[in-house]
Symmetry: C2
Subunit: 312 residues, 2 copies
């Protein structure tokens, strides 16, 4: 089989019957809401793609009366994302609860850990400093601050600034999880997570945070590029589909800059690895540097601990 | 094989070489601290048995300098437990951080959910009311409020008081998890959970709370009665070994009252089920009511969702 043919075959795995998929996901959501005896679901709505897709699926599965969307920004969150979340929830006609979590981050002592919270800075200045610092910490051996932060940081080069920043931004998603469960349990709702396959495989999420610590994860078997396709079928507003994906937990960093790869490349590499391709085959087929493939393999390996709790 | 012989065989499975076990668990802790590139570990110390055993194992594995114990009581926690935790940490010569989490529960709105927090009551009065309410909600079909609360609460008999109470006490363990990770990440420490096999199997823990949401779980393969044996080998103070195990999250309820079975019976039933015994065999051998065995099977089944996140 020529490389071209192999590549075509690989791309064909990405092709899905989205109509059938939507029906299956609706049934999945209905099934577990019933099995776990819940009166509806609760979701965190960020204004981004994944949570919008999950919200739309829940609304289709259960009807708008059964879906509660929590919108939980903090001081560094983009206003635009909050507005997009509110306006999309309105479109779906689902109930929302808006809570600014900044005060919770302050009271647990997380807020002050972020070096840029020590002095009052405009959001624009903060974004610029974070972007520059991220570049500064990129190492020559192809590691990124993201990949380095996936496991421990005993390496002296990664100093207390990085540890503090990690502790700070990760607390955000964990506090969101606490609030989702708090309101979910109060109203007997199923907690629905929005992690996708791409971010889950490479560890681009907060361990025990609001993406992975949920009751069900409807889109966990879909790569990000597939979620984007699905969004079109669900008629998610193009503004949400087209904006650059961002975790929106550190100002100024979007997903692809943080990871160091486009989702198109990343998903194909992940799929090829899943199908057992060797590094050389992948780099030849996609005409990318060997190092990029090794980098992705490293992400998968280093993030293993985020997908399981180790037992003796 | 006679019932008596079968029972002897079953009990023999409970027998462990504790010296060898301790070495293995020490190696396990060392291995993952190194693999995940951490500078020591962090644990939540409650003053109870499980976390004391985990703390002792960590101290043996890594030395006292590498272990940080977080003691995180709130207004309803027994003073005695905090004192026991502090004094045991002193005995192990490990660093402690004491944080009263009541203010965090207040700021996220969890504290006011507990009906008994609406009016000032002494701890003794609170304990009495909780005990009586628990009995009141025990149903005739052999369910307990604990077993009912494992899945959803759409049943109208379980009204908003129970939902509010569940939301309240569960927030405690989740906030503790947030704090363990916050300080763990700040100091690059491995987060060590203290869930044991008994509570994990029957769902006697808070989903995504400080027991199960950790990096490693050293005693997850040990039944509670085995943990108690292990504690003797580790020379845990007899005061900690002998006190009635209690989750210490609702005033007045200890483990065995809440679950409705002694750990001795519960562990043997769980082990027998693991070995494929039928309900009748178990009730005949242990001379207990069929219904108790069915109750335990029901706990395992209903708590399945706490041990996994469902995917399509």
């Amino acid at each position: 089989m020529t490389l071209q043919n192999k590549l075509e075959e690989l791309k064909s795995y990405m092709t899905i019957d989205y109509g059938e998929l939507i029906t299956n996901l609706e049934n999945f959501i209905k099934e577990y809401t019933k099995k776990l005896d819940r009166e509806g679901v609760i979701i965190g709505l960020s204004g981004g793609l994944d949570s919008a897709v999950v919200a739309a699926l829940c609304e289709r599965a259960l009807g708008s009366d059964e879906v509660l969307a929590m919108i939980m920004p903090e001081a560094d969150s983009k206003k635009e994302n909050v507005e997009d979340a509110i306006s999309f929830a309105r479109e779906l006609n689902i109930e929302t609860k808006l809570i600014d979590i900044t005060k919770y981050l302050k009271v647990i002592g997380a807020h002050k850990l972020f070096p840029l919270n020590k002095i009052p800075l405009s959001k624009g200045i903060k974004e610029g400093i974070v972007k520059k610092s991220y570049k500064f910490f990129e190492k020559k051996d192809g590691e990124t601050p993201f990949s380095t932060g996936l496991s421990g940081l005993s390496d002296a080069k990664f100093n207390s600034y990085i540890k503090k920043t990690n502790a700070y931004y990760r607390a955000k998603h964990r506090i969101r999880m606490v609030l989702l469960y708090l309101y979910g349990e109060l109203e007997n709702r199923l907690i629905v997570g929005a992690a996708n396959k791409t971010e889950y495989k490479i560890g681009f999420f907060v361990k025990h945070g609001c993406d992975d610590a949920a009751d069900i994860m409807p889109i966990i078997n879909l790569y990000k590029t597939q979620v984007r396709e699905l969004a079109k079928y669900l008629k998610i507003p193009s503004k949400i589909i087209e904006k650059a994906p961002s975790p929106d937990i550190l100002p100024g960093l979007n997903d692809e800059e943080t990871i160091g790869l486009s989702y198109e490349s990343l998903d194909l590499i992940l799929l090829a690895l899943e199908k057992g391709w060797q590094t050389e085959e992948i780099s030849d087929s996609f005409q990318i540097d060997n190092k990029k493939v090794e980098y992705v393999k490293n992400l998968i390996e280093k993030s293993e601990h985020m997908r399981k709790v180790y037992a003796p």
